[in-house]
Symmetry: C2
Subunit: 321 residues, 2 copies
């Protein structure tokens, strides 16, 4: 959860007057998104989400993110649409931050994802991949495989002996990931952060995908690996193959995986676990104890990585080969 | 800000189905209220506020708080109305917490209160006092003058030398407050926490009063003292007599103060400053460094208390005597 920046009420009314969205009725900071400040603004024409972009998002990337969302929405993906002012602008400034008003999506994110949710997210992810293919914009994955070594090194020397042992272990895993990482899988724009709190459901069906601020170009199957990590483990750390099977089956109903993608699923899942493990580890060792946002414990992703290192092959994810 | 408790999506849909409010469209934790978890729930019939009461609110007081809001709303005070289920219940349970659904109020709280806002709050406070007179319920002020000594003592020995000096000073002020505190001023139900973030405005006019979870029986003029502390000081700590004059004038247009109330304004303002100083000091010395909510620095209220101790009399608050 996060609300970092306060909005002056007069400044908000002034900001909102540039849009054709009626009169502002209220503005509440909401616990949605980790990187930015989000507000639910109700107007006489309904609810909207107002996002102020905080420093962890590179302002230069914002036109890409907003354009990508707009493009996806136009292709029928249920994602927020950046609202344009009467002058045609969607990226503006408020409280000295880049700011955008986006449409509100009905639905709730699943606190306890079921296999049905996993199926929905698999299908939604495949549709998102296809819908982005003709988008005229791109963004490099700044948290891709080539960034992981430096991220790991920057966690060095902050911890105790356990930490040193962990670093050593992760360095060895990274050696393998770097040498065996596939470079010619089908690629395009991926969400890259499709965790349960970024997916809304209504009556059991996917009704919204939000938070596109990690979207970038990478292998589609790597995005599946991110989702498998985020959706298919239970709270006790165990892997739920039924959920994975549903996720993969529903994905493939829309976009069948190539043999090459399937063969690489284990290493892609390892990499996805490594990526979230490393950013969490980085925040864990670098966040001051009195910080506003409590960092997520990397432990969960250490266990997930170990699982993916232990699998026999793609069949361990529920694929009938 | 505060969202302490997570709500399961299925449990929410089940909970909401007991009301005639349409279908749930979304539920967002909002940064409103310090003591409880608040959610903005949008349904097909509009927005509502769902409050889960956390441990700092005594569950035994909840029927009083909800009944009082319902009563005030019936008298035209723009406060949230507890929504009743089809079976007539307004106090229920969700996520193992007492829970209530209340109506949503349009408006925004003023981040930079002006004299006009202060006038609005003065008038609103007087109307609230009058509207509560025939409410058939009451609640003792557990944070009234008789509680302050124990609160101060419980902050003992947690701090350094500065803290010890402060405690000594506050004990002396308390001696005076206890011996001179008025006991026969006009009394009734007061809001007792009418800070800017609990008052919404729209087009410059008061449109909502929220957060009644400190409401209790006490002297009406003490509630004015709380508002003077909360609304009439500038960010640099200086007292703005123009704002105080407006607040008092608009209050008196609705409910004129007696000579006795006016004469006691300085000590009531001192007491109000002491009450917030003490709870902030208590939280300050007792909150672990890694706590979720950052406690408010008591320093602001030490300065306010010193101001009220320095005034010559009621005329210092802008009253023409």
């Amino acid at each position: 959860m996060a609300v970092y920046t306060e909005i002056d009420d007069d400044a908000l009314v002034d900001f909102m007057s540039a849009y054709d969205v009626g009169e502002v009725l209220s503005c509440k900071g909401i616990a949605e998104g980790i990187e930015n400040s989000n507000f639910l603004v109700t107007t006489t024409s309904g609810p909207f989400i107002l996002t102020l972009y905080e420093k962890r998002v590179d302002a230069a990337d914002l036109p890409f993110f907003l354009g990508y969302m707009d493009h996806l929405a136009g292709k029928g993906i249920p994602c927020p649409i950046p609202v344009k002012t009467r002058d045609g602008h969607d990226l503006r400034e408020l409280s000295k931050r880049p700011a955008a008003l986006i449409t509100f999506l009905a639905g709730m994110w699943p606190k306890r994802p079921t296999a049905q949710h996993c199926g929905g997210v698999g299908e939604g992810l495949a549709r998102l991949h296809l819908a982005g293919e003709d988008f005229d914009g791109t963004r490099a994955n700044t948290l891709g495989v080539s960034s992981w070594r430096e991220l790991l090194t920057s966690c060095d020397g902050h911890g105790d002996n356990d930490q040193a042992t962990l670093q050593e272990r992760l360095n060895k895993v990274l050696d393998t990931l770097e040498s065996q990482w596939p470079s010619d899988l089908p690629s395009g724009l991926i969400h890259a952060d499709l965790f349960p709190d970024n997916v809304f459901f209504r009556h059991g069906h996917l009704s919204g995908i939000i938070d596109f601020y990690f979207a970038c170009a990478d292998a589609y199957a790597y995005d599946i690996g991110i989702c498998m990590n985020a959706w298919c483990f239970e709270a006790d750390g165990s892997f739920n193959i039924t959920k994975a099977r549903r996720l993969l089956a529903e994905y493939q109903r829309v976009r069948p995986l190539s043999d090459d993608e399937i063969a690489h699923l284990p290493i892609l899942c390892q990499g996805a676990a490594m990526r979230f493990l490393l950013t969490r580890l980085y925040d864990w060792v670098n966040t001051p104890a009195d910080a506003f946002v409590t960092p997520k414990n990397p432990e969960e992703y250490i266990k997930k990585l170990e699982f993916h290192l232990s699998v026999k092959g793609p069949s361990s994810y529920g694929l009938d080969l």
